[in-house]
Subunit: 356 residues, 2 copies
């Protein structure tokens, strides 16, 4: 039975990408060697790195004053690396608290400057994205988490920021067009829409760097990796290769506009069923619902285990909700197709009929 | 033509490992999913992580008071993470300067304490491993680089250290038995004997931690990853999986004693030819020669390009020496067999006959 992978991350990748990714393990770019054992300085891998960088530039139509970096350490490393590179001790930054990852970003940033939490939806278990807060002009930057994997909320409109704008896009990057010129720093762990775990994308406006006075270890300075073209040290070769393949797949399938259209249609299919079905309800408020992570529950919680068992029987995998929300979470990243979601919707309908 | 991979890193891996590594891209552990898209919290990957940890413990016969961590960021991250976790600002540490990587370790450590370079072979282009230096008792630790990839030298005997002992074993870990109880912290980028680029092994004696007063970001504290069992955040799943396969291969092939015997025999074959052949000479002094990276040159440098061309024609790949030494470098890690080295030796002999 073919499985449908609803995992929140590491997450579903396109079948075409997986096929090419397996081929390169045996013979990479006609070298006769596995990609796992080639030098990162080989002309073949330098070409892969250049292609990966060019694809990010192409998909986002990046202006020249932005650098593209492939780093390691995940978004959890960016939580401290961003303030370490952007904030002096007495500088202020504003953060919006929209979930567990936003809270971690806030916690790590506090060691490097004065952090103002401008708005939070924590008192309502992060069911919504706060709006209509003031963004003081004296902040060095504003930090947002664009999509909240655990709580299933997503920004559908960016705040007008009078200050530089830093955004953790780990769980919705490449799912829709983004006007990057509104941002100063974007970071994203790869393991949702971009590729396998083990690489982190950073897009940074170069002129915001070099303005803090603290000592920064070489590996933690963005400039090190800009100057080294993401090869200051040995990069995570294979994770970058598979990310390149995935970005090529996005491009071949119409780019970010096409991804956004597909993702809207997919999200509509499952949210319409959640709203129609008598048994289920959604966690997030409708206007802030995520198109990547759909968090939903059963009114009768005692049926949860049974529904999950039925999902497993149908090959619908990874649907157990995060303990912070409970219930179910369907992660429906770029590589998920409508057919996969339809199987889940069919099961929800069957389940409703049975329990009626 | 089958290539022989003499690359310094990322480097040759066993063919059996590559085959299993490719299979898991298509179907991981019978899940019906690619390992690139499974959750790191899945029971299958938790089992892989546990097995990888157990293999490190087993191969090194690790005492219980040592933790095994799989991190990201490479040895270049350990260069600052080790002193950040072990040194207060006024504490002293001793470093031995045996090559480019040792120098980088020294440079990064200087931000976190008082660094004494106890000995250096830099004035002689790092041809030897310094010996007979004094190790002051008041040091917090002594730091060594066990094998110098660029210069082809290696410690064959550890100094008697009266202070805690920190060692970068990136390029010879798993190549020979190590009495870990003599060390307090060992770190190694995977991309030589352990696996593909993208994961870093850390073996740490737990009681040396928690003694510094500076603030350390969560991701940079060893304790975070001890408590999180290397899963505080999403780990580099695939690089850990392939490392596990490689360690299993080492175990199946007799463990570290057997690796050491094979590696001694392989090194003897190539060094004997370098010493015998009228055209070539070695870079390192004989007593400190590396069994992993064999650096050698032609007396007549004008023949270098021709020799490299002949190597390429025979499928002998990755032999160009690092610019700091010039000439050639044959990296002959665990997965290299005698047959591969014999091909290089045969070519050296043919080349000598031609040029006689």
């Amino acid at each position: 039975m073919k499985k449908v992978n609803f995992s929140a991350g590491p997450a579903i990748l396109p079948q075409e990408v997986i096929k090419q990714a397996a081929e390169a393990i045996i013979d990479y770019a006609g070298t006769g060697l596995s990609i796992l054992e080639v030098s990162h300085r080989s002309k073949e891998f330098v070409a892969t790195m250049e292609k990966a960088t060019a694809l990010v530039r192409d998909l986002f139509q990046l202006p020249d004053n932005y650098a593209v970096l492939f780093l390691s350490g995940g978004a959890s490393t960016q939580f401290f690396m961003a303030p370490m590179n952007l904030l002096n001790e007495d500088d202020k930054a504003g953060y919006i608290s929209t979930g567990s990852w936003a809270k971690n970003a806030i916690k790590e940033a506090k060691a490097f400057g004065k952090i103002n939490v401008l708005a939070s939806s924590e008192e309502d278990n992060f069911k919504y994205i706060p709006k209509n807060y003031e963004i003081p002009q004296n902040l060095k930057y504003l930090h947002l988490t664009s999509n909240n994997t655990i709580f299933g909320t997503q920004y559908h409109q960016w705040p007008e920021s009078p200050v530089p704008f830093v955004c953790d896009m780990s769980s919705d990057i490449f799912s829709r067009p983004v006007n990057v010129s509104r941002f100063d720093l974007i970071y994203a762990g790869a393991q949702k829409n971009m590729g396998p775990a083990g690489v982190t994308l950073v897009i940074v406006k170069k002129d915001i760097l070099g303005k803090v006075s603290r000592y920064i270890p070489t590996m933690l300075k963005y400039e090190t990796h800009i100057n080294g073209e993401s090869m200051y040290n040995t990069p995570p070769v294979y994770a970058i290769y598979v990310s390149m393949l995935t970005m090529q797949w996005i491009k071949d399938n119409g780019g970010l506009e096409a991804m956004a259209q597909r993702n809207e249609a997919k999200a509509r299919l499952i949210y319409d069923e959640i709203d129609r079905n008598q048994l289920f309800y959604g966690h997030a408020v409708p206007e802030d619902r995520s198109q990547m992570n759909v968090c939903f529950r059963l009114h009768d919680e005692s049926l949860e285990a049974e529904f999950l068992k039925r999902c497993a029987e149908k090959g619908l995998d990874g649907l157990k909700g995060h303990r912070s929300v409970g219930g179910f979470r369907a992660s429906i990243y770029n590589a998920m197709d409508l057919e996969g979601i339809q199987k889940l919707v069919d099961l929800m309908q069957d389940f409703e009929k049975e329990k009626a």
